[in-house]
């Protein structure tokens, strides 16, 4: 699945992020290849979500460089200097990066279908008819064709999260970020969301998934990164890291969650 010759989809080079004096990310360096599924695991407060949010510029990195598909995020480089991007340019970069949130964040005043159609129409300026056909197809893909005209309040958590995935896919992103997509769900609804994500991975989508679902990480991910205290403690193939962790911190964490 991993193509070694192509440029990596995501390259983080010594990325740090501080909120005031609190250093949340400390010099994170990693690469995600095109088509790779990477799971980020670790205790809460380890900086997983912050790192994810840096990738689509919802947070601005304090130092280091972060690029997606060879393009530097948030800055333009010219004459050996970095220039802060205009909001418009940052928005253009975000179009190609889909994001799924822990709390779904569907637009409650729009139906499932309208949620999925909103960005392609407003951001890409596509015609309504084509967008609607595509949106219905996407809802069918996440198993919600029958629920297109429901408002989010009338959908279960699992259904809402699947709509949120369809909404992100509608922009035809080259990278999908999942920020604990199943953490707000009832246990019995987790499976339906993970199934959708697994299908997505099978179709070759590049994905970075912050999760506590070790079963999913083992089964679907190509690589697993364990973070703690803002640093990458250990990374490698999921089965290696999960079954044979090298660091004491990883061992301690996995012994609690597995």
């Amino acid at each position: 699945m991993v193509t070694a010759l192509a440029t990596p989809m995501v390259v983080a080079d010594r990325v740090s992020k501080s909120f005031g004096s609190n250093e949340v990310l400390k010099s994170i360096s990693l690469e995600v290849q095109s088509g790779e599924v990477m799971c980020l695991v670790g205790p809460s407060g380890s900086g997983k979500s912050t790192f994810l949010r840096c990738i689509n510029h919802l947070e601005v990195v304090s130092s280091g460089r972060l690029s997606v598909d060879g393009e530097l995020i948030g800055y333009r480089e010219a004459n050996n200097r970095l220039y802060e991007m205009r909001p418009k340019e940052a928005a253009r970069q975000r179009r190609d990066i889909g994001m799924v949130f822990q709390r779904f964040n569907l637009f409650p005043h729009m139906t499932a279908l309208q949620n999925v159609m909103e960005a392609p129409i407003r951001v890409k300026g596509l015609s309504k008819a084509g967008v609607e056909a595509n949106a219905r197809a996407l809802l069918a893909r996440v198993g919600l064709a029958e629920r297109a005209d429901y408002y989010p309040a009338h959908l279960s958590g699992g259904q809402q999260q699947r709509v949120a995935i369809a909404r992100a896919l509608a922009m035809e992103p080259k990278l999908m970020l999942f920020d604990e997509p199943t953490s707000a769900l009832d246990p019995e609804l987790v499976g339906e969301v993970l199934d959708v994500m697994q299908n997505l991975a099978r179709d070759g989508m590049t994905m970075i998934v912050v999760t506590h679902e070790m079963g999913f990480a083992k089964e679907v991910a190509d690589s697993l990164v364990f973070m703690d205290g803002g640093v990458v403690v250990e990374s490698g193939h999921p089965s290696d890291v999960l079954t044979n962790p090298q660091h004491a911190r990883t061992q301690a964490f996995l012994s609690k969650v597995l």
Partner: protein, 367 residues
């Protein structure tokens, strides 16, 4: 009252029990009715109220014209106040410190001084600035005309009311914008929507639910505040006109009653309008039922129509869970198996509409 118990909760139709009695409540109601009846009987014959005079003036052309002027003042100044208020609210939330400071100073001045004083100032504007010049500073103006000609008392009244009201509207709108969950802005931003698109398409529509009730209050308040424009002086609105007539005819009380009736009439209309606006913006949030189209589709698909107890009184359960939560007992469908999606309603869905709850808009064709 067959289907609702005394505490406002629905009763169970399947249970036969002696209803809890409330003797004191009934006695209090009867006493209250007696007092009101006595007051009405007395007022009907009390000479000071002079009902024949009320009847004579209620549809007097001078009064109805003045009532129309009051309505115009309210509508025009509210429209300007809402536009300016939304602008000020967005300015105050702007990351640009220059812009947010301008909005802050505006609010400080216009909320910090009485509207009556402001209106007197607007009345004096023709004395303070005798002409309006358009051109570059320190050169001969290109156009110049006297202020008194350019700005009639009517326009000054609207400007005075609107600029004052905008400061209050700005705070109402700001509270509404802040009430929207920050995740909404993040989701829109992550989709690549611009700040402006996020505001117009995502934040503002959701904030309307919070904005409309206090904004409705402001409209009703504005209707009555128009009576202060006599400070400008502008004398053609309802209250001042009634006072002017009664000053000549000495029918003070009847004309006050006439004016009050017109104010009440307009207020009632505004309240009805507010009700429908609130329903419109509660879409997807206030209602606990799928929209009609989707509902019909599920019912016909499965043949499951919720019917509770035939001729029995309808059970109407109040929506208990907060609107942002996902349904507590969602229909569990097998993962990735779309055709078998069981369309069973969550159990706390009211099976029948409460009588005053018109069906919701269909999802499409609403913009």
């Amino acid at each position: 009252m067959a289907d609702t118990a005394a505490n406002g909760r629905p009763t169970e139709p399947g249970i036969k029990a002696i209803r809890l009695r409330h003797p004191w409540r009934n006695i209090f109601a009867v006493v209250l009715l007696l007092i009101v009846a006595l007051f009405i009987a007395d007022a009907a014959v009390r000479p000071a109220f002079d009902w024949p005079a009320v009847g004579k003036y209620i549809f007097d052309q001078r009064i109805s014209q003045a009532a129309f002027v009051t309505l115009q003042l309210t509508v025009y100044s509210m429209i300007i106040a809402i536009i300016l208020g939304v602008t000020l609210a967005i300015m105050r939330l702007s990351p640009n410190p220059v812009v947010s400071s301008i909005a802050w100073v505006y609010l400080w001045v216009f909320r910090g001084t009485p509207v009556y004083v402001q209106l007197v100032f607007w009345g004096l504007i023709g004395t303070i600035y005798q002409s309006i010049d358009i051109g570059l500073p320190f050169t001969e103006p290109w156009v110049s005309f006297p202020t008194r000609v350019a700005l009639s008392a009517f326009i000054l009244a609207i400007v005075g009311l609107a600029l004052n009201e905008a400061a209050y509207m700005a705070e109402i709108v700001r509270a509404g914008l802040l009430s929207v969950d920050s995740g909404q802005e993040e989701a829109a931003t992550a989709l690549g929507m611009s700040w402006f698109q996020t505001m117009v398409r995502v934040i503002v529509p959701q904030s309307m639910r919070v904005i409309i009730p206090p904004a409705g209050n402001e409209v009703i308040s504005m209707l009555k505040t128009t009576s202060l424009v006599t400070a400008i002086p502008f004398t053609l609105e309802l209250y001042t006109r009634s006072r002017d007539i009664s000053a000549v005819t000495f029918e003070t009380v009847p004309l006050l009653i006439v004016a009050s009736m017109w104010y009440l009439f307009f207020t009632s209309i505004l309240m009805v309008g507010q009700y429908f606006l609130e329903k419109r913006f509660a879409r997807g949030i206030g209602d606990r039922r799928p929209n009609k189209k989707a509902d019909g589709a599920t019912a016909s698909m499965t043949g499951v129509t919720p019917v509770v107890g035939g001729n029995q009184p309808t059970v109407v359960l109040p929506p208990t869970d907060p609107p942002t939560d996902p349904p507590t007992d969602p229909p569990t469908d097998p993962p990735n198996d779309p055709p078998n999606d069981p369309p069973t309603d969550p159990p706390n869905d009211p099976p029948n509409d409460p009588p005053n709850d018109p069906p919701n808009d269909p999802p499409k064709g609403d913009r």
